[in-house]
């Protein structure tokens, strides 16, 4: 009898430690996410003059803390003599922890490895390359691993709590953790639109064989659909709407309000000069863009309710529904981005070839591609959500 009580207490203690570690990881990831937004603005207005810029410090501080939390949990649960706790998997016969901690740990390790390699890459090839660089993408993949791992940890805590008969309100709290884990994922994936931004990446048009395609619609649709569909597949109590509204408010508040202020303040404090005319400031458009993401979320939610009984094509329908508003927003973003890039063209070096405005036909093809990409990402996102809803370890 006392043995089973001890075991229950040990499981409860392990779950508490996991929960605390998850909280630390999520907080650190949001800090990193904030650093990423700041860094994008920093590169745009000031450039990259050294490795340890203030935004980089914020990003890597978050990565460091995010990597320590899973490391400590894995070390604690794998300590020699400890018995395997409920919810843990065994790796290589010696390491034990919920799978999410392994994924998050590997993600953090990838991010940490990408940092010096990225610095080296800049030393070899120049300082002002875009996100479309190998070690930027390596860091991004690591970041995705971190947040996917955190989402798995949260989902595992939620399902094990449900199996223990924990009350509905507590379960909703665990669900909120899962959605919180999806927040940095959506924010991280959103940074992928930098790849197609005319200001940053200079690739607003993809050339697929003889066809020119505006890349923005498909890219943004894919990003939004993945997260919306995962959120939809997770819950039935309007959690998808909650996650997207949270996402929009966090992105708006953090990305668009804080970062211009932070760039201005640090630029003055450290004596930097802007390389472009004007100064970073909050614009009406920058507030509206994240809020406009609510439209795809509402479309996803409506499609999810409509197609609830049709498991096989539900994900594709959600994706296609999201593609319509998301691609409209992306077209608008691409047009205004190219116009802005052209308006500051004289500030770029003379040999810098500005991206041309995609043609109407390229936009039409881009939107058509967005429908397909949305459908595929809807299926992937739904699968991700269903897997999260069923994860036990």
């Amino acid at each position: 009898m006392s043995g089973s009580v001890d075991a229950a207490a040990r499981v409860a203690r392990a779950e508490r430690v996991r929960l605390v570690a998850l909280g630390v990881m999520l907080a650190a990831m949001l800090v990193s996410s904030l650093g990423l937004q700041w860094d994008l603005q920093w590169h745009h207005w000031i450039g990259r003059d050294r490795f340890l810029t203030p935004p980089h410090v914020l990003i890597y501080a978050g990565v460091l803390i995010s990597s320590l939390a899973p490391l400590l949990v894995i070390a604690r649960e794998s300590w020699p003599g400890r018995t395997t706790c409920d919810g843990a998997i065994e790796l290589f016969g010696v390491l034990r922890a919920p799978r999410g901690f392994f994924v998050a740990g590997c993600g953090a390790l990838t991010c940490a490895l990408a940092a010096p390699l990225d610095n080296y890459w800049h030393e070899l090839y120049g300082i002002d390359v875009t996100l479309w660089a190998p070690f930027h993408l390596m860091g991004l993949i690591g970041g995705i691993g971190m947040v996917v791992g955190a989402a798995y940890v949260a989902a595992g805590l939620r399902s094990r709590a449900a199996a223990r008969g924990v009350s509905g309100r507590m379960l909703a709290g665990f669900g909120a953790f899962v959605l919180l884990a999806l927040l940095p994922l959506s924010n991280l994936l959103r940074s992928l639109d930098v790849l197609v931004s005319p200001i940053w990446g200079l690739y607003p048009t993809l050339q697929a064989g003889p066809l020119a395609i505006a890349a923005g619609p498909a890219a943004l649709t894919a990003v939004v659909t993945l997260v919306c569909a995962a959120a939809c597949a997770l819950g039935e109590r309007g959690e998808a709407a909650v996650v997207v509204i949270l996402f929009a408010s966090v992105v708006t508040a953090v990305g668009e309000v804080f970062t211009p202020w932070a760039v201005r303040t640090l630029a003055v404090a450290q004596g930097y000069a802007y390389r472009l005319p004007g100064a970073p400031h909050l614009t009406r458009g920058s507030i509206l863009v994240p809020l406009l993401l609510v439209a795809p979320a509402v479309a996803a939610w409506g499609a999810w309710r409509l197609a609830r009984g049709h498991r096989w094509w539900r994900g594709a329908l959600i994706g296609a529904a999201v593609a319509v508003p998301a691609s409209a927003i992306a077209v608008r973003m691409t047009i205004s981005g190219v116009r802005y890039a052209h308006s500051i063209a004289q500030w770029y070096p003379a040999n810098f070839a500005m991206a041309a405005m995609p043609t109407h036909a390229a936009f039409v093809r881009g939107v058509a591609l967005a429908l397909g990409a949305g459908a595929v990402c809807g299926v992937i996102g739904e699968g991700f959500g269903l897997a999260l809803a069923r994860v036990r370890t």
Partner: protein, 188 residues
């Protein structure tokens, strides 16, 4: 099967897609040399040649006097290793540019870093031969070539994909089990 087909389509799309022509224009260097009484204008498409990387060369001849047999001018390109460079003479490739008897285009690759001389040998219509040398410094290859950087940078994607495949298989197994157990459990 459907998943494999989707994956194949995505891979095909990625393979077909490439960034548009918007890119940084390559810097180039230009030099004017004398070959006998004739002037050569040499343009290189790289301000910094690298070992093993072909760099394009465009040569324009300004003869001392133009004549009826100017299309009989020949021009060859080679690279001579500088002092202390353990290498041998390299032959370049030059062809007459379309539409002009006075312009040649081609390229050359240098196998060893260090100081080299690009040697242009001009043979006039009367058979007289002159040479002109353009000193260049060839840099060592980059420690990480671009393709290798991409391979290393994208390698964690394999881990993420492996995890995704593992999870997808597990999900399919769970869904099959739920279906086998009946609709009541699936609804729960």
């Amino acid at each position: 099967m459907r998943a494999w087909l989707s994956a194949a389509l995505v891979c095909a799309g990625l393979a077909l897609a490439r960034p548009s022509a918007a890119h940084l224009a390559l810097p180039h260097s230009q030099a004017m040399l004398m070959a006998g009484w004739d002037t050569l204008v040499v343009e290189l498409d790289a301000s910094q040649p690298y070992v093993g990387r072909r760099f394009a060369t465009f040569v324009t001849l300004r003869p001392e006097q133009r004549g009826a047999h100017d299309d009989a001018y020949t021009l060859t390109l080679s690279a001579e290793p500088g002092l202390g460079i353990a290498a041998v003479r390299q032959r370049g490739h030059l062809v007459r540019a379309a539409g002009s008897p006075y312009a040649w285009t081609g390229d050359i690759a240098i196998p060893t870093r260090g100081g080299w001389g690009l040697r242009m040998t001009v043979q006039r219509p009367d058979g007289e031969t002159h040479t002109a040398d353009l000193p260049i410094t060839v840099a060592a290859p980059n420690a990480i070539p671009v393709w290798e950087g991409w391979c290393v940078g994208l390698s964690p994607l394999l881990g993420l994909l492996a995890f995704a495949v593992w999870q997808a298989r597990e999900l399919l197994r769970q869904l099959r089990e739920e279906e086998a157990d009946g609709p009541s459990r699936a609804a729960a």
